[in-house]
């Protein structure tokens, strides 16, 4: 068989076995590497479980920890075994125990047969790569990383700082240009053997063993030296979250995976029974030559990253509570605040509603109650018209109202007689607030009132003072 499968396994052995048998059934030889961290009894059980298959090999075990050399050493050992024991193999596909073939194996054979000299390995220079976990891109190759990022973080960070301080820079052997990419490749025997048998291999190994996350760059870099034809993409579908960890696929991703143009997908949740059943047993039915649409998959995971890192603007909830200045927008949509208009125009609110189609409220911050539009006592989201409830947290009240009514523009009246303390500045600073003021118009209300003139005069002075302070705030923000 011309395609050999390497499988790096450390857990969920039953699934690894299930997938291995699937490959073996189509005639692919398989070389396993089992992480040395796995307990011996589990390892031996797995070996004996696979013992009925002819073209299966196990190699010397290495300790595989994320970001360290062990993974590369494991891959090298398995690759050497594969090339040595199976001379017919022309393409070697590197997979893990959590990978699942999406397309019939024959399709993969046909595809690779048509491209006998092509290496499929994601390989991009550091300048072009958008992801950097831990903020280190070029530095991966210029500094030394003897410490484990996961287990010895303090030492890891301290040594990095130290090297930066003294301006230490490693020499990259033979001036090779570092490249990075997904470690799940499919390489030709020619390229793979050239890398493994390179007379400079010891130097390269020494260098890369102290590079950070070497499995993302070892083969990506060295294959550039020998490959006749590189297609810089992985045949394995793998999506990453905002922390650089691979996303898991579950049963509810079945339809999505059918849209992939990849041959294999990872990582699959070991208990996603439907996925394993669909892709391993009902192969013909599963793929049905569906039109690949990988963009859809990309979108879903890109949205997930966005949701985690930027969230929904203007929303405050149990798992999103941004500190001041980090809200990325205090409210979620534009709204309009009118000061003095309803005092000057008799039918302002209905007129505004008719003219703009917006929802027009009265004084939302009136002292006695919230004057929702149309005299309602409850508003979207079940917001109550109780002034005490509103005043308990005025900003929450306002942001909730704007959130609950998204899609419909909100307008409300404001004036110096309202409870604007604690909310005045928030509205003033909010770029979503369109504020329009007719200064002094509140006096019309007093003018028409039937109160004692002495009271009126006192009230007028008080309101003027409030509005004046308010205008200063508005001006300072505007300037």
């Amino acid at each position: 068989m011309s395609v050999g499968i390497i499988m790096l396994v450390h857990t969920a052995f039953d699934r690894a076995e299930q997938v291995a048998r699937h490959w073996a059934a189509s005639g692919c030889p398989i070389v396993f590497h089992v992480d040395e961290n796995v307990q011996d009894h589990a390892y031996h059980a797995f070996v004996s479980a696979m013992s009925d298959l002819e073209d299966v090999r196990f190699v010397k075990r290495h300790r595989c920890e994320w970001g360290t050399w062990g993974l590369v050493a494991a891959t090298q050992a398995a690759s050497e075994k594969m090339l040595q024991d199976f001379p017919d193999v022309r393409h070697v596909y590197l997979t893990s125990g959590a990978c699942l073939p999406l397309r019939p194996v024959q399709e993969l054979f046909d595809y690779l047969d048509e491209r006998p000299h092509t290496d499929f390995i994601e390989s991009a220079t550091t300048a072009d790569v958008p992801w950097t976990v831990g903020g280190l891109d070029r530095e991966r190759f210029l500094l030394r990383f003897p410490f484990s990022w996961r287990r010895q973080r303090f030492l890891f960070d301290a040594y990095v700082k130290f090297q930066r301080l003294v301006g230490y820079k490693r020499k990259i052997p033979n001036g090779i240009v570092p490249h990075m990419g997904s470690q799940w490749w499919c390489l030709t025997r020619q390229t793979l053997s050239a890398i493994l048998e390179d007379p400079e291999r010891k130097r390269y190994d020494r260098y890369f063993s102290k590079v950070w996350i070497p499995d993302e760059s070892y083969f990506a870099t060295l294959s550039r030296l020998y490959s006749r034809q590189i297609e810089s993409r992985s045949l394995t579908l793998s999506k990453f979250d905002y922390q650089g960890k691979p996303h898991m696929f579950y049963d509810d991703h079945l339809q999505l995976l059918r849209r992939s143009d990849c041959f294999v997908a990872r990582k699959i949740w070991p208990f996603a029974n439907r996925l394993y059943d669909a892709f391993l047993t009902d192969q013909e039915g599963a793929m049905k030559r569906t039109e690949p649409n990988p963009a859809k998959i990309d979108r879903i995971f890109a949205k997930a990253v966005d949701r985690r890192t930027r969230g929904r603007r203007g929303l405050y909830m149990q798992s999103r509570f941004p500190a001041e200045g980090r809200e990325n927008g205090v409210t979620c949509a534009p709204y309009s605040v009118f000061e003095g208009f309803s005092d000057l125009f008799e039918n302002f609110e209905p007129w505004l509603a008719k003219t703009t189609g917006a929802r027009v409220h009265g004084h939302l911050f009136a002292p006695d109650r919230v004057e929702f539009s149309d005299g309602q006592t409850v508003m979207n989201g079940a917001l109550s018209d109780s002034a005490k409830l509103r005043d308990y947290n005025k900003l929450a009240f306002l942001t909730s109202l704007i959130w609950n009514t998204r899609g419909e523009r909100q307008c409300f009246q404001l004036g110096p007689m309202d409870e604007i303390e604690d909310i005045e500045w928030d509205i003033t600073k909010d770029p979503n607030a369109q504020i329009s003021v007719i200064t002094g118009a509140w006096a019309v209300g007093l003018f028409k009132s039937n109160r004692n003139f002495a009271d009126i005069r006192k009230e007028a002075a008080r309101l003027q003072q409030i509005e004046s302070t308010h205008l200063n705030a508005l001006r300072s923000e505007w300037a």
């Binding site: 039918n347 917006a358 307008c411 003021v437 200064t439 002094g440 118009a441 019309v444 003139f453 508005l474």
Partner: protein, 79 residues
Amino acid sequence: MAEFIEAPMEPLQTIIDEIGKTRRKALAEAPKLTDLTGFPQFLQSLKNQGMHPYLMGDFAIDAGMPESQEPKPKPYLIK
């Protein structure tokens, strides 16, 4: 307020346009201005009582109509 009353349509149009964003047609009807007869006298009474009302603008008493002389705070439009 005074200056606004002189020419209310333009600022109203601008505000409405901004809310609508796409709608640029002229306002069909204006909102109804409340009856302000006696308002200038009211302001004067406040002055007589020792207050200094200034935010409303200038309302000349005898004419009964608003009169703007110095520029007074105009309606604010943030953005």
